[in-house]
Structures are given as C-alpha cells and as structure tokens.
C-alpha cells in the first residue's frame, strides 16, 4: 500500500498559499516601479518617478500626517486602557471580570460598519465635529482587544504574587504596580503599542464614516482610486507603507517573543 507522502504535500500547499498571499503585495511593489501611467500589463520600464511624486503631493503628505498622529494617539490610549484591563483580568477573579472581558472582546467580531455608523450617530448627537481624531476614537475600540490579549499574555507568565511581595516590603499598591508590574510588562506594552498603531494606521472602514472633510491615509488613497492617473503615486506610497509596516510589526513580534523567553513562573 502506497503511503501518501504527506510531508511534501503539506509543504507544497504551504508554499502555494505563501505565493498567493504575497502575490498582490509583490504586484503592487512591481507596479510602483513601472514606467506607465496606468496599471495594466504588460510592464513598461523601470522608474522612480512615482516615488518622487509621493514627496511632492501635499494632500497626500497631509493625510499621512493625520494618520500618523491619530495612530499614535489611539495606540497610546488603547495600550493604556488595555494594560489596566489586563492587570485587572489576570490578577483578580471578581464579579464583573467576565462581563468586562466579553464586552471588550466584542469589537473583535462586530462588523466595522456598525461601529462606524453608531459612532457617527453619537458624534452627531453630542455635537462633536467629524474629523480625523474622531476616527481615532473608533480605532481605540477596535484596538483594545488586541492590547488586552498581548499584555495579559505576558502578565500570565509571571508569578501572581509579585505585587503582594512588593507591598509586603513597604510599597503601596500603586507603587507596586509602578515599580514591579509595569517594568515587567513593558515589552508587551511596546508590542501592543506597535500593533495598535498599525491597526489604526491601516484602518479604512470606520475612518470612512468619521473623518468628515479630513483625510487619513487610507481614506485619501481610496479617494484617489477613481483617478487612474493618480494611481501610480498611490501605489508607490502603498509600497513604502507596506514595507515600513512589515518591518515595524516584525520588530514588535520579536519584542513579544523575546519577552516570553525570559519570563519564568
């Protein structure tokens, strides 16, 4: 009876999936160097002019600036809120823990259209104008579950009575958190910040409802998709962003994983 040579089938399948996954990314990068005004095959020639034009487009740079600022803001807020929530969830098993966990995890699965639309209604009723920072408010909501996950994963790897030991030696509870807990989870705090930054930076659905006349980068890019002549510049920008994002996330993952190795129960 012939044995199905599974190892090579699995590896082949994996390779195929990888190729398909990276294909669009590769295509974008290829077209960013394509010396043609439209995105069609066949390819025409090599050029860097699209990259040059990226730096010259003030609209684009402005949208980029917006995205960076609100990503920084929402990542900061999400990491702080997620950090507090993580400490509460890992260290305490009191009534309310389950409900909090459930509610903070819901944004993971709720369709973004609902989140965007409901926030639109809220901002309108409360009288807050639509703007890029408004989008940032929504980004915090979708980022909190990830922050919670990353930070609590790290916290769980440490003995659970370190705060108690610090208090025994004379520290108040908040001092114990500051001198012991936060230093210990700091790699996770950074990793969470980087991930939440990426989430906000790339986010389009919610932003499309909340930015009003402002633009975040994804919103700007979408608006340019209608103009074929503008596309190569958008693609060039996309290539830059993709590369930077990948680098940042790889660094963040490395942080997260090297942290796991040094923690001991």
């Amino acid at each position: 009876m012939r044995r199905l040579n599974l190892p090579s089938f699995g590896a082949f399948y994996y390779l195929l999936v990888c190729v398909i996954l990276y294909l669009p990314i590769a295509l974008l990068i290829i077209f960013s160097f394509n010396d043609a005004a439209s995105l069609t095959f066949p390819l025409k020639g090599f050029t860097l002019r699209w990259y040059e034009q990226v730096t010259q487009s003030s609209e684009l740079l402005f949208a980029l600036r917006n995205s960076v600022l609100i990503a920084l803001g929402s990542a900061l807020v999400a990491t702080i809120l997620g950090g507090m929530g993580a400490i509460a969830i890992v260290r305490y098993n009191l009534p309310g823990r389950g409900a909090f966990l459930a509610v903070s995890a819901m944004p993971l699965v709720i369709p973004y259209v609902i989140l965007g639309v409901s926030l639109l209604i809220l901002l309108n009723q409360v009288g807050i104008p639509l703007s890029a920072p408004a989008a940032g408010l929504g980004h915090v909501i979708i980022s909190i579950p990830y922050a919670l996950l990353i930070i609590s994963s790290r916290l769980v790897g440490f003995p659970n009575n370190l705060e108690e030991a610090a208090m025994d030696l004379g520290a108040s509870y908040w001092e114990a958190l500051g001198r012991v807990t936060i230093p210990i989870i700091s790699p996770a705090l950074l990793a969470s910040f980087l991930l939440c930054f990426t989430i906000s930076f790339d986010e389009f659905s919610i932003a499309s409802f909340l930015v009003g006349t402002d633009a975040t980068l994804p919103v700007y890019m979408y608006s340019q998709l209608r103009f074929p002549t503008r596309l190569p510049i958008v693609i060039a920008l996309a290539a830059i962003i993709m590369t930077v994002t990948m680098a940042v996330m790889i660094f963040s993952e490395w942080l997260r994983r090297s942290g796991q190795n040094t923690s001991r129960k």
Partner: protein, 368 residues
C-alpha cells in the same frame, strides 16, 4: 500584653465560596487565640487546608479577619495595610522580582522607603552576607538555583529588620538534602538576628527540627500548643498524636483509675497505662503508644504485662524493621524495632506469634 510579638484575639475568618448556585460560608478559622512570644522560632503546623497559611496572611495583612483582632508588638493592626506593618514575608515561590538583579531585589524595602542610595546598598549587602550570597549580588534571579533564590528571598525580607518574619513553607520546592541543610541554616539565622520567626509548614519533622514552639492546627482550630518534646511525648488528642510522628491507637476499657495511672483491659489482658486526666471506670478509652516504644518478645520470654499478637507484615527499612501486627482481638498495631545484633535481638517472620509490651509510662490514654 506588649510582651508578645504577635497576638491573635478571638480571630475568625470566614469565606463565602460559590458552589454551583449556592453561596456557601466556609469557616477557615474559628475564634482563634494565639500569643507568640518575641525572639522565638514559632511554627504553625498542620495539614493542607487547616488554616495555617490563612493565619499567616492575616498577620501579614493580606487577609482581613472576619472578626477578632490581630496585634503586633501590642499594637492593633485592624486598619493597617500590609505595607505599613512591621512584618515581612518569605513566600513559598520566593516572588523575586525578575527585572531586578539580586542586590536591587534585596534593597527593595529600603528603596521604597527612599533611603539614600549608598545606605540602600550597604543594608542590602549586609543582608546578603547574612545568607552567604554576597558574590551573587549582580546576578539576575533566573540565574540562581532554587536554594539560592530562597536565600535571596530571606535576605530581602530581613533587610527591613521587621519585628516579625513570616515564612510560608519556603523550603517546599527544595530537594531533601538541601531542605535539611536549609532548616539548620534558618534556625541559626533566626538565633543570630533574634527576630521572631513565624513559620508555616505541613512537614512535622521540619517543625520539630526548627521550632522553639509549635501550634498544631486542624480545621481552623489550634489542637495543641507546645514545644517539640512536649508535643511528641504528650500529644493532647488523637489528631496531634497521629500527625506528629507515628502512633498506635488501641481501644481499651478502663477498670479503675488512680492519680495519673489507670488499669485497663484489652484482648483479655490487664495493663497499667498513663491516664493524665483521670476518670471513671468502665469507660472505653483510646490508648496511644509510639511504634518505636513497642517491644517484641518470643512467647515465654516476655514480661507479665504483655499482649499476644500475630505478625502480618515485615518491612525492612535499613535502620529499622517495621512489624505490622494484629492483637488477639483483631486490632492492628505497628512496632518499629531498630535492627541490631546481639543475644537479645531477633527477627520475626510473617505468621509468627509474638508478645507485645512496652515500658508502662510509654502508653497513655488520649483525651478527646
């Protein structure tokens, strides 16, 4: 009052636990009164769940008594949080701070008190010298062995010179030889610094080795309080007799009781045993005698006051041989005979009929 290092007055601790849908009240500690004299090595000894750790944590301040009060050096601790009590704890899992090196771990107490940096270092190094770990000051805790981590935890707790040092089964994670060495070392350190140690363990041998005084606990109640020798030789009740060392428990009937001795009958024979409490005749009593005090003889070569028994099992343990016996009325007994040589000593085999006897005062009636 102010003579005691730690006092618990009528302290109770109740937990409500959720079993399914019902909230149950669990009594961890019942109305405990405890006075711990200063400068002693005091141990709370008992099986898991007896409340010893809860008691320790109430002294530390991590648990709050449901009723009653805790006093440390005569001052009530009712509203005082752990970080303000003159008490430090050595935890079972050491709880060393992984992001600090050994020196900074030990210096944590002084750091929090904002002692000047040079002073911090000096105090920390002194504490490390006390536990003989001076050369490890710059290492990180993960680089140390279990025994070394334990000593760092000890140094860290001692550096604040607390009135009372609490130790929550700190030797549990160490292997046997290391544990025995650390027991001696801990005792020496306690004698050296003179601080009151309150030690929690379930290991009765450990307690007997190290303690000046032991409180034996079961189900949230102190069963007996005393020094090791007293607890061993004169257990107050069945629990203590069974928990500390090994005991035989034999049901006998009291014939008469005079002063502190009683005449009892068992399996057709009459014996005299210690009867500390005294009491009426005719009652049933449990007599306890330690296996190592039980002597065996061949029938015919035994003293008058001895019982007939059959050998069920023989277990050779190097230094001793354990004999599991049955008396004529079926009651089991264990005898622990030191292996030796010489005219008087002999081995017995399964099925042998032997005579069981002991020195009169080695058997006593248990008060229940």
């Amino acid at each position: 009052m102010t003579d005691y290092a730690v006092e618990l007055r009528d302290v109770s601790k109740t937990y409500s636990s959720k079993r399914g849908n019902k909230a149950e009240e669990v009594n961890a500690i019942h109305g405990m009164d405890l006075s711990i004299p200063p400068g002693k090595f005091f141990t709370l000894l008992g099986p898991s769940g007896c409340g010893k750790t809860t008691t320790l944590r109430m002294i530390a301040g991590f648990e709050v008594p449901t009723s009653g009060e805790v006093f440390i050096q005569g001052k009530p601790m009712t509203d005082i949080p752990p970080n303000k009590r003159p008490v430090n704890t050595v935890f079972q899992n050491y709880a060393l701070f992984p992001h600090m090196n050994v020196l900074r771990n030990v210096a944590f107490g002084p750091t929090v008190r904002r002692v000047p940096k040079e002073e911090q270092d000096k105090l920390a190094r002194e504490a490390l010298a006390l536990v003989q770990l001076s050369e490890m000051a710059d290492r990180s805790p993960s680089q140390l062995s279990g025994g070394q981590q334990q000593r760092v935890a000890l140094a860290r707790a001692l550096v604040n010179q607390p009135a009372v040092l609490l130790l929550d089964e700190p030797l549990g994670a160490l292997d046997l030889k290391l544990r025995k060495a650390m027991q001696i070392e801990l005792k020496h350190i306690q004698e050296q610094v003179g601080i009151t140690f309150v030690y929690v363990t379930h290991d009765q041998e450990e307690a007997l080795t190290m303690s000046d005084e032991i409180a034996v606990m079961d189900k949230g109640v102190i069963q007996q309080l005393g020094d090791p020798a007293t607890l061993y030789k004169h257990p107050a009740n069945r629990f203590v007799a069974d928990f500390i060392g090994e005991s035989n428990f034999i049901n006998m009937t009291v014939v008469s009781s005079k002063e502190d001795h009683a005449e009892v009958t068992v399996a057709g024979k009459t014996l005299r045993v210690l009867d500390p409490k005294g009491g009426e005749a005719g009652r049933g009593a449990v007599v306890t005698v330690r296996p190592e005090k039980v002597k065996l003889s061949e029938p015919g070569k035994a003293p008058q006051e001895s019982l007939s028994a059959t050998v069920n099992e023989v277990v050779y343990i190097g230094t001793d041989t354990r004999y599991m016996l049955s008396l004529k009325d079926g009651q089991p007994m264990v005898a622990r005979i030191q292996n030796g040589s010489g005219a008087e000593w002999r081995e017995y085999a399964r099925g042998d009929n032997v005579k069981v006897h002991w020195t009169e005062d080695d058997a006593r009636i248990l008060n229940e």
